[in-house]
Amino acid sequence: MKTHFLHRLDFPLIFISLLISSLGLIFLKSATYTCSSDYLSKQMIWLSLGILSWVVILKIGYQQLAEFSPLLYLINLSLLLFLLFAGSPKLGAQRWLHFKFITFQPSEFFKVVLILFLSRHLSLSPYYSAKELKELLVCAGFTLVPMLLIVKQPDLGTSLVLGFLFLLIIYLWGIRIKYLIFLILTALISSPLLWHLLKEYQKKRLLIFLNPHLDPLGAGYTVIQSKIAIGSGGMWGKGWLAGTQSQLNFLPEHHTDFIFSVIGEEWGFVGAGFLLLLYLFLILRAIRIAKLSKDEEGRLIAGGIAGMFLLHIFINVGMSMGIMPITGLPLLLISYGGSSLLTTFCAIGILLSIDRARRFD
């Protein structure tokens, strides 16, 4: 039976993600108002590519995509390996692959690829308590390899996101809580051992990650400026393009990682709170799709994506307000950055595909 392409789509999800990203363009305009580089047009191009990715993913379907996930996993892993040896240092990190006119960050895509891969793997071996431990270890292995490669880049934030996604997916799969606790305890106990293996500068970086005030001219400065920006926004904000803190370049990286500060300053509690509500709706919608999914695979994938969204938003907004350590995690759908935007759109495309499959049943 041939159906219209737009038939049976989750329009609330489409509406909310397009709303957030359009708002994002408005915020980005303000954050880059004084910059010479044309971030806005580039972001719009990525946005169009993102929408295009929905069409492609809906055509393929999430099950097909999950079937390809081992291949995607391998491709992405080899890109990470390639970066390890040949990456170009930008801002001190080797995260980006440079092509002619775009730069591209494989670790961003890895989040979605890992979700697909682990969900696929676990859904093929339905839950039996006898196989539980074996699956746990296999998945842990598949997660640890990219984690280590990404830590090397060095990008601790993304690496921890992968670890979190792994825990979330095996939790949703149904692993016994005692194993989960055991796993977390092992990680905690082994961390002091790993500490000794780290080099001096890596230790320093971790300490600053945990306590930005150790580096008052670096991360510590940014946290204070960000808090001032948000705090001075008050209830109603200073108005679009009127945020002094961010407009005057007080705040480094305010078009990427710290864009929430610009929003808080210019739109106040009302605006920033509204944005948070939109995000909350987005995540709950994703969890709803997981609940309604017709198969285990879809459930795990949708759950994993919801978790990825949650973690990004919580950490990014949290660090802007000084309650979370500073990581390089971008603000979902809003921060400037092609790889991250496209990844998010692909993830939403997959959600749409999962939901659509249910509606056909």
Binding site: L91, G92, A93, P154, Y171, L172, W173, G174, Y201, R205, P212, H213, L214, D215, P216, L217, G218, A219, G220, Y221, T222, I224, Q225, K227, I228, A229, I230, G231, S232, G233, G234, M235, T244, L248, N249, F250, P252, E253, D257, G264, G268, F269, A272, G273, L276, L280, I283, L284, I287, K291, E296, R299, A306, G307, L310, F314, V317, G318, M321, I323
Partner: protein, 582 residues
């Protein structure tokens, strides 16, 4: 099962968002007035605390490079531009009165820099204020309008040109640390050449900074965070700056392009390494644009350290090594005599000795003393190109010596394979003859030659030369070569005869109360005057120094022996006064 867990997941999401809402409320509603006031007055100020870079000393503790305090006049744009127009004009007028710089010029500097730096970062308006200017600024009350005086360390090289190639200089660098992504970057100094570059990480230290909250009178109210700077490490070089000065002036006073290396043959410690023409590293620090441009565009490349980065044919100074090869391979013995008729025929070509009427019969000692070419053509023919190449490698030619300086060149040792690869031709016998007298394709650096001659001076040890005395970054690297000490002694006697034989090529090196061994070399250069070499060591019995002198286009080396003589006599004087002081 899974559905329950998804419910728990939804619940956690709501909890986490509640936390976010709560913090947002706390910042924007509860503490609004506090942050509003901080934001309005822009009261957060960053004070960089730059780390002092480590000093560099010579072997006797005399300063070769150090940080000196430099007073700079700065302006914080956000505080300056918060003033009314008339006030700003008044501030500029006052500044102009105090410093003597024209008002338009100051305005121009501010406008130019303002566009590229964040408003809280102090702009440097003027560098190097004197005491009078400092007190005038401090009394003027200009600090209310964002003007202040800061002290920053600036590099200074007391010996300027003399030690420029060894020490190098520092310049602006980019930081490559991840955490710099957030926050603001201090102007950052990084070594661009010489020891400053190769030991940059050790010398550098770590910059600190302070973040303070100030009130509307620019007084510090609260310190928000501080990171103290850590001073960089000091380095003592093996260089003796007195001897270095002597070497540099020997070249500079006659404007001789070239290099002089003096080192200790038993430790590999470099006592002096001069290269001419040179440059003044202080020009790079001050940013003297015109002088820097001259240095960079000069055809005689003053930045090049000719002692390690200049590559030259060694000419006849290579002959002692060939002599050792011949003795070791038993192609000749101490009492083997060859006849020099002034020329020697290989294939259908004649190869000439520098003395056209020939040296007649001579043994290896005399051959070295008179620098006979024919003797070495014949010896080279018996040894062959492969053996010559192997002995070059044994003496450390054609490879970096491993001294702690950047930009060292390898030079070149020709071989059959190299020739075939490069020129698509086989190796000719005539080329072996050229090789055996140190001409042709063979290329070395003066430091490589100093190391090779040291093997003869110290009777068989190859070292890795070093220029750093303290701290010890590596242990003494000494390799005993498999050479018979009897053979080395024969060559040593040959090099002694160069000086002591009345017809030796360096007879003018005869000095009272010290026996010197040496070898001269005149290396032909296509289309130019020949390069002259003088290598040697003294005292003969227990050598304390090995010296290598290279003069580009210096002509016949025998005429340049006077430089070596002056060098040795100055060294003797220095040793004497040192002993006297003790």
């Amino acid at each position: 099962m899974s559905i329950t867990r998804l419910r728990i997941f939804s619940f956690s999401t709501v909890v986490l968002f509640t936390i976010l809402f709560f913090s947002l409320w706390n910042l924007q509603v509860n503490h609004y007035s506090y942050y509003k006031q901080l934001s309005d007055k822009n009261c957060i100020r960053l004070l960089p605390l730059p780390a002092a870079r480590g000093s560099i000393y010579d072997r006797k503790g005399r300063v070769l490079a150090e940080d000196r305090p430099l007073f700079i006049l700065t302006l914080i744009p956000q505080e300056f531009f918060a003033q009314k127009r008339e006030v700003r004009e008044w501030v500029l007028t006052r500044l102009s009165e105090i410093t003597g710089v024209c008002k338009e010029e100051i305005r121009d500097r501010i406008e130019r820099k303002r566009r590229i730096t964040p408003p809280f970062v102090p702009l440097v308006i003027l560098k190097g204020l004197n005491r009078k200017e400092i007190s005038a600024v401090e009394e003027s009350g200009l600090n209310l309008y964002g003007i202040s005086i800061q002290v920053i360390p600036e590099r200074y090289y007391p010996y300027g040109e003399i030690s420029a190639h060894i020490i190098g200089y520092v310049g602006r660098g980019e930081r490559e640390e991840e955490e710099r992504r957030y926050g603001y970057q201090l102007p950052y100094r990084v070594g661009k050449a010489g020891i400053e570059r190769s030991m940059d990480e050790y010398l550098r230290g770590e910059d600190g900074g302070e973040e303070v909250e100030v009130d509307h009178l620019a007084r510090e109210v609260r310190r928000l965070g501080v990171k103290y700077p850590r001073k960089g490490g000091d380095i003592y070089l093996t260089i003796d700056i007195d001897l270095q000065k002597v070497c540099y002036q020997l070249l500079a006073k006659e404007r001789l392009k070239g290099a002089i290396v003096v080192l200790q043959p038993f430790t590999g410690e470099i006592l002096a390494m001069a290269s001419y023409p040179s440059f003044n590293p202080n020009d790079f620090i001050e940013g003297a644009t015109e002088k820097i441009r001259q240095v960079l565009t000069s055809p005689s490349s003053p930045l090049l350290n000719r002692a390690i980065s200049g590559i030259y044919s060694p000419g006849s100074t290579f002959k002692p090594l060939v002599a050792i090869a011949g003795l070791e391979k038993k192609k000749i013995f101490a009492n083997t005599y060859f006849y020099c008729a002034g020329r020697y025929r290989i294939g259908n070509r004649f190869f000439y000795c520098w003395k056209r009427d020939g040296h007649h019969w001579l043994d290896v000692r005399k051959a070295l003393a008179y620098s006979c070419n024919v003797f070495f053509y014949k010896l080279g023919e018996r040894l062959g190109v492969d053996t010559l190449r192997n002995f070059c490698l044994l003496f450390g030619l054609g490879e970096k010596t491993g001294v702690e300086l950047p930009g060292e060149k390898k030079g070149l040792i020709p071989s059959r394979e190299w020739k075939y690869f490069k020129k698509k031709e086989e190796w000719y016998k005539g080329e072996t003859a050229h090789f055996a007298i140190g001409q042709g394709y063979l290329l070395t650096t003066p430091l490589q030659m100093a190391r090779a001659i040291s093997v003869i001076a110290n009777k068989g040890y190859l070292f890795t030369p070093t220029i750093i005395l303290k701290p010890k970054f590596r242990s003494l690297l000494l390799k005993k070569l498999k050479l018979s000490s009897k053979n080395i002694e024969i060559v040593r006697q040959g090099m002694q005869a160069v000086v002591e034989d009345p017809y030796g090529t360096a007879h003018s090196l005869m000095i009272r109360d010290m026996r010197v061994a040496a070898k001269t070399g005149t290396a032909q250069v296509k289309g130019k005057e020949a390069n002259s070499w003088i290598v040697g060591f003294c005292p003969f019995e227990h050598p304390q120094i090995v010296f290598v002198i290279l003069i580009e286009q210096g002509g016949v080396s025998t005429h340049r022996v006077g430089i070596a003589r002056e060098l040795i006599e100055s060294w003797k004087r220095l040793v004497k006064t040192e002993k006297g002081n003790k």
